[in-house]
């Protein structure tokens, strides 16, 4: 093995062993690539899921662990999926500097689609297209699915049984959210007041006329 163990380099200090449970949780949290749910943390500490003693003990150890990292560059946080360590945001710039590849920007089309799914879920693709006023490309739906942000949670009982999309736990985790309602609220729909009449091309607007309105359906009227 070519790995150099740096502990050999360190100064010899009096050994103060941290409590085992804290180290176990630390190991599990660092080893995971996603937030770790409480039940997995309990399992690591050999607590059954229904073990009444386990939860408070694990939570106390998590608090100690978090305190241990108070002065460091990372912090212990909880989001929808569970607990995880993350780099404190004040170090983001340096982390980005060390990463040669910049993450891709998300297109507006993708973000709008994602927003509609997030706020309107469960929603069909046709409903998304209704709101956006344009077709939603298959590419966008695939990208969202592959990133694990949306998934099909059912099918609408209409002809064709289109899939109903919803956001996932990964979506919440990636935004550091615990629950969906922690998303910033959607702008309120304003009440429509009386629309002012307007001059639509030189002709005075006629009030109270009773002519045949069907004539207005002419689609080609350009003037």
């Amino acid at each position: 093995m070519s790995d150099v163990d740096f502990t050999a380099v360190g100064l010899v200090q009096p050994w103060v062993e941290p409590p085992e449970i804290e180290l176990v949780l630390e190991a599990v949290l660092f080893a995971a690539s996603e937030p770790v749910p409480m039940k997995d943390l309990l399992a690591a500490c050999a607590f059954g899921e229904e073990d009444a003693a386990g939860r408070p003990e694990v939570e106390a150890a998590l608090a100690r662990l978090s305190a241990h990292y108070r002065d460091r560059s990372i912090e212990l946080v909880r989001s929808a999926g569970g607990y995880r360590f993350r780099v404190r945001q004040q170090f983001s710039t340096q982390v980005q500097a060390a990463q040669p590849e910049r993450p891709q920007r998300l297109s507006r089309a993708l973000l709008e689609t994602l927003a509609i799914i997030a706020y309107r879920q469960p929603v069909t693709r046709a409903e998304i297209e209704d709101i956006r006023g344009v077709a939603v490309s298959t590419q966008i739906m695939r990208t969202l699915t592959e990133r694990g942000w949306v998934h099909v949670v059912g099918h609408k009982e209409v002809p064709g049984r289109p899939g109903l999309y919803a956001t996932t736990r990964v979506f919440l985790d990636d935004l550091g959210l615990g629950r969906l309602d922690e998303l910033p609220p959607l702008d309120a729909l304003r009440e429509l007041v009386d629309l002012p009449g307007e001059d639509v091309g030189g002709l005075p607007r006629r009030e109270g006329g009773d002519e045949d309105r069907d004539a207005g359906d002419e689609p080609s009227s350009r003037d």
Binding site: L106, E112, A115, L175, G176, D187, V193, V200, G216, D223
Partner: protein
């Protein structure tokens, strides 16, 4: 937008009559209130997420409230954009044309007198469009806020450590068929490289070679005959004998005879000093 710039409002002369001949006539034939640099058109198309987005842009540009859009004016401007794009033969998503038709319809309906009883909101043809625009605008704003939120792997980084020092559960032993399948693959490849040959040697001899090597040490001579196990019968003895010969041929064994006519002894050849 880089930008479809519109010079200040000037009563449209007549938007129906102008035409745009890009390769021939100058762009001066465009209506005075509409100037789009030709190279900006591609950008233009990519800049809008659809007809609703374009309409919102037109409305916002004039600091108008969605709730009270002047349909005639907006329609006029919208049509102007569409006409330019069509004149330039830019491929236009069908939705833009559908919206154009809708706007035209609304406008024409507004020209008509409304029945006295139908003065309430429900009857205003602008309402459905306004609702749609408002709805779209909410999600457009939500999308921007979503994008601004700290996002994993862009602004926020998960802290993790490699787990390769951890013992992964071992893979199950291969099934015999898997092993044979792999070997067939090798043989097939080897056969394509003609100069490589695998001769089929008796496994038993090879195995015995390995076993004998294991038992021998280089410090200790053992009697050669001890390597032959009589209990295995003739075939066994022959196998062992062949194995010893093979090992000898490969230079792995050293032979000795303590005394004349004494037992023939064998040991593993001492490791040679490493040299080239």
């Amino acid at each position: 937008m880089t930008e479809a710039e519109v010079l200040e409002e000037e009563p449209a002369t007549d938007e129906v009559e102008w035409s745009c001949r890009v390769h021939g006539s100058p762009l001066g034939e465009l209506p005075a209130d509409l100037y789009i640099p030709p190279d900006a058109l591609e950008v233009f198309l990519e800049s809008f997420e659809g007809p609703l987005d374009l309409l919102l842009y037109l409305i916002r540009r004039q600091n108008l409230d969605i709730l009270s859009i002047p349909i005639a004016e907006i329609t006029r401007q919208y049509m102007a954009y569409i006409d330019v794009m069509q004149a330039l033969r830019l491929e236009l998503a069908g939705e833009y044309l559908v919206m154009a038709a809708l706007l035209a319809e609304i406008k024409s309906r507004m020209l008509l007198p409304r029945p006295p009883a139908a003065t309430d909101e429900e009857d205003d043809p602008r309402l459905a469009l306004i609702r749609q625009l408002q709805e779209y605008e909410r999600f457009k704003a939500a999308a921007e806020r979503l994008d601004a939120m700290p996002r994993l792997e862009r602004d926020v980084f998960h802290a993790h450590a490699a787990r390769d020092a951890l013992l992964a559960p071992p893979a199950p032993a291969p099934a015999l068929e898997e092993l044979l399948d792999a070997l067939v693959g090798v043989l097939r490849r080897a056969s394509l490289r003609a100069h490589h040959q695998i001769s089929a040697e008796a496994l038993s001899v090879r195995e015995r070679m390995a076993r004998i090597l294991e038992t021998l040490e280089h410090e200790v001579f053992v009697d050669f005959v001890n390597l032959l196990t009589v209990e295995e019968g003739r075939p066994g003895v022959v196998v062992a004998f062949l194995a010893v010969l093979e090992l000898s041929k490969a230079g792995l064994l050293e032979w000795g005879q303590g005394e004349a006519f004494g037992p023939i002894q064998v040991r593993r050849r001492a490791p040679a000093p490493i040299e080239e």
